[in-house]
């Protein structure tokens, strides 16, 4: 099962630009229609760590889905790693996600019957890499997030913080161009939450481009750049002076 190669959809982006969103709207055709995104434009460059904050209903999750190509915008364009979403078929979007985008979810979404190692290895499942190589890489990724001694534990036997570390390792194992994290600390206590934020900062320092969606301004305050969203529009997009770097 392979989708055709994607050369022709490549769209030029300035060097170092990973994600570019232009005038994106998303309207859900309910009665009355919901304008989840009302015209959003933003760019993310390689190596950035960006927080997207906003109250619930501000369109954060929709923005994450659109950035992650899980959903198509109603209008406007999304360019990820040089590929314009509007020009790609559904299968090609799957390929883009398999190779260029990593996801971290609030509910972790680990497969309960699997070990931590195989959960991380599944991050490469749809790349066509063989199981042995996937596990090898997964072991390295798990070691990086501090779970070298938990590899053979099944997902159900892990604590919440450990589960989120496994999920982060899974998002990073394929070395994606960008990692999108949806409320990664939403299901964790404040202590565990701090350690996850710390891990995200470390991974960013090692070169990973990460966008974190959160309603928690304290979490957002740790990151160098914060985008505030309200009613489907960007309220502010500012470099954060109080960031650690």
């Amino acid at each position: 099962m392979t989708a055709p190669a994607l050369d022709r959809e490549a769209a030029p982006l300035p060097p170092g630009r990973v994600l570019s969103i232009r005038d994106v709207t998303k309207v859900y055709p309910t009665e009355p229609p919901v304008h989840a995104l009302a015209g959003v434009s933003l760019d993310v460059d390689e190596g950035e760590l960006v927080a997207v904050v906003g109250p619930s209903g501000s369109g954060k999750s929709t923005l994450l889905h659109v950035m992650g190509t899980l959903d198509r915008p109603t209008s406007g364009d999304v360019v990820v790693a040089g590929h314009s979403v509007n020009a790609l078929s559904d299968r090609q979007l799957s390929s883009l996600r398999a190779r260029r985008i990593g996801f971290v979810f609030q509910q972790f979404h680990l497969l309960n019957g699997y070990t931590a190692l195989d959960n991380v290895a599944d991050g490469l499942l749809y790349s066509g890499m063989r199981l042995y190589d996937r596990r090898e890489r997964a072991a390295l990724a798990l070691a990086r997030v501090g779970l070298a001694n938990r590899m053979m534990h099944t997902a159900t036997k892990l604590s919440g913080g450990e589960k989120q570390r496994v999920a982060i390792a899974r998002a990073l194992v394929g070395r994606p161009a960008i990692v999108l994290a949806d409320e990664p600390t939403g299901n964790l206590d404040s202590h565990t939450s701090d350690s996850i934020v710390e891990l995200i900062e470390e991974l960013n320092a090692e070169g990973a481009t990460i966008v974190v969606i959160t309603h928690d301004h304290e979490v957002a305050g740790h990151f160098p750049r914060t985008i505030s969203l309200r009613d489907g529009l960007i309220e502010s997009d500012a470099l954060n002076g109080s960031g650690r770097r």
């Binding site: 990973v18 040089g82 799957s94 390929s95 883009l96 996600r97 979404h109 499942l125």
Partner: protein
């Protein structure tokens, strides 16, 4: 990052197998129960086909042993059909037909047989008395369970050989102590007990005496009522055609010719009808099993929305998701199919060995069983797989 070539999503076939078996490995009870439906259906079909094949083989072996070249000639009975007796010279005439190898006549004797002379005369036990030729046993290919058959010497004296049912009703199992029976106002010595006759069950309920003894002691006129005829196996039909006119040239229409092996074959045909019925029942069980799998798969798709969303996020295409769920349904059905074939063969083996039959399971039964399971799995999995693949990633992930 600059624009670059994007290699398409790929799922290696071995990984497809792994992902398709996730549901089975993590929900073992449910998988086992839904495979059970298919298993029962397949087992029923395999066992029915296996048992029918084994019993058919047994029958063929029996026919082989007994031969299909035995014919009986009987006088028709009833209004306008004659006296129930064949012409006196019939046996001799029949024996002169070229392909006839042996003949043996019997005639019904107007007498009853009792265990002792104290038994009221009405309690005949349904046992008939027949005067027979000494070559009867040979002609019919019968066997004795005890003693000897009548021979030239004993046929002229008050001796009797009992059919298996007659012996049981008279309470005689062996002849070592020279048991006597009260036969037509006279004690007769039991010299032999016969095994069951497959080709002429009426003799099982008879007491057989020699023609000479019947004439001397029972005041019997030995005009045959039936003649057993062994022919050259190649000319059975030809002999059947000429038998009526040979046995009774004046009134050939009064003669009934039959082939006892036909009765065995008819019995087999009757059991074939049952085989078809049970196959039908097995097919229904299989269908129900298939519906069960479809049902479980639909529920599974609903429950595993989050997993579907995750897989889409990890780069699975719609086809990968569909293949995963279709594969799971196929695996379930295949597990049921393999289990069903094993169970069906086991049932056949156990039943056949209690019956002393050879254990035969036709290739068609087990290969067809497995093929049926796979087809049912595919059909049952198709709809749930389509549903899973049509789920949009965001919809699938919107589960909290």
């Amino acid at each position: 990052m600059a624009a670059s070539t994007l290699t398409p999503s790929r799922l290696h076939p071995s990984d497809l197998g792994r992902t398709a078996s996730v549901g089975l490995r993590t929900r073992k009870t449910r998988a086992g129960l839904s495979a059970l439906g298919i298993m029962i259906g397949i087992a029923a079909m395999v066992a029915v086909l296996g048992l029918s094949e084994s019993s058919k083989w047994d029958l063929l072996a029996k026919l082989d042993r007994l031969g299909t070249n035995l014919l009986t000639v009987q006088a028709g009975q009833g209004i306008g059909a004659g006296s129930g007796q064949l012409p006196e010279e019939a046996a001799g005439m029949v024996a002169r037909i070229a392909p006839v190898e042996a003949t043996s006549s019997i005639s019904a004797v107007d007498a009853n047989v009792y265990k002792t002379d104290f038994i009221p005369s009405g309690q005949t036990g349904g046992i008939s008395v027949q005067a027979v030729d000494v070559n009867l046993l040979e002609t019919l290919g019968g066997e004795l369970t005890a003693g000897t058959f009548l021979n030239e010497a004993t046929a002229a004296y008050p001796t009797v050989v009992l059919g298996s049912v007659a012996a049981a009703r008279l309470g005689i199992a062996d002849v070592a102590h020279q048991p006597l029976v009260w036969l037509g106002d006279q004690w007769f010595a039991v010299v032999g007990v016969l095994e069951e006759f497959d080709l002429s069950p009426n003799l099982d309920r008879a007491a057989l005496v020699g023609v000479g003894a019947a004439e001397t002691f029972l005041d019997h006129e030995a005009i045959p009522s039936s003649i057993y005829v062994r022919t050259n196996p190649q000319f059975v039909d030809d002999v059947m055609d000429v038998l009526p006119a040979t046995a009774n040239p004046q009134n050939p229409e009064e003669i009934e010719v039959s082939r006892p092996s036909d009765a065995l074959e008819a019995r087999e045909a009757a059991s074939d009808a049952f085989t078809t019925l049970f196959l039908g029942l097995g097919a229904v069980a299989l269908l129900v099993g298939g519906v069960g799998i479809a049902n479980v798969m639909v529920i599974s798709v609903l429950e595993r929305r989050a997993e579907i969303g995750l897989r889409r996020a990890l780069g699975a295409t719609r086809r990968h998701v569909a293949a995963q769920f279709l594969g799971e349904a196929l695996l379930l059905a295949l597990v049921g199919g393999v289990g069903g074939v094993l169970l069906g063969v086991g049932v056949t083996a156990i039943y056949a060995s209690t019956q002393g039959w050879a254990i035969l399971v036709p290739t068609l039964a087990w290969a067809g069983g497995l093929a049926a399971a796979v087809v049912i799995g595919a059909v049952a999995g198709l709809y749930p797989a389509m549903r899973a693949s049509r789920l949009s990633p965001t919809e699938a992930l919107r589960t909290t």
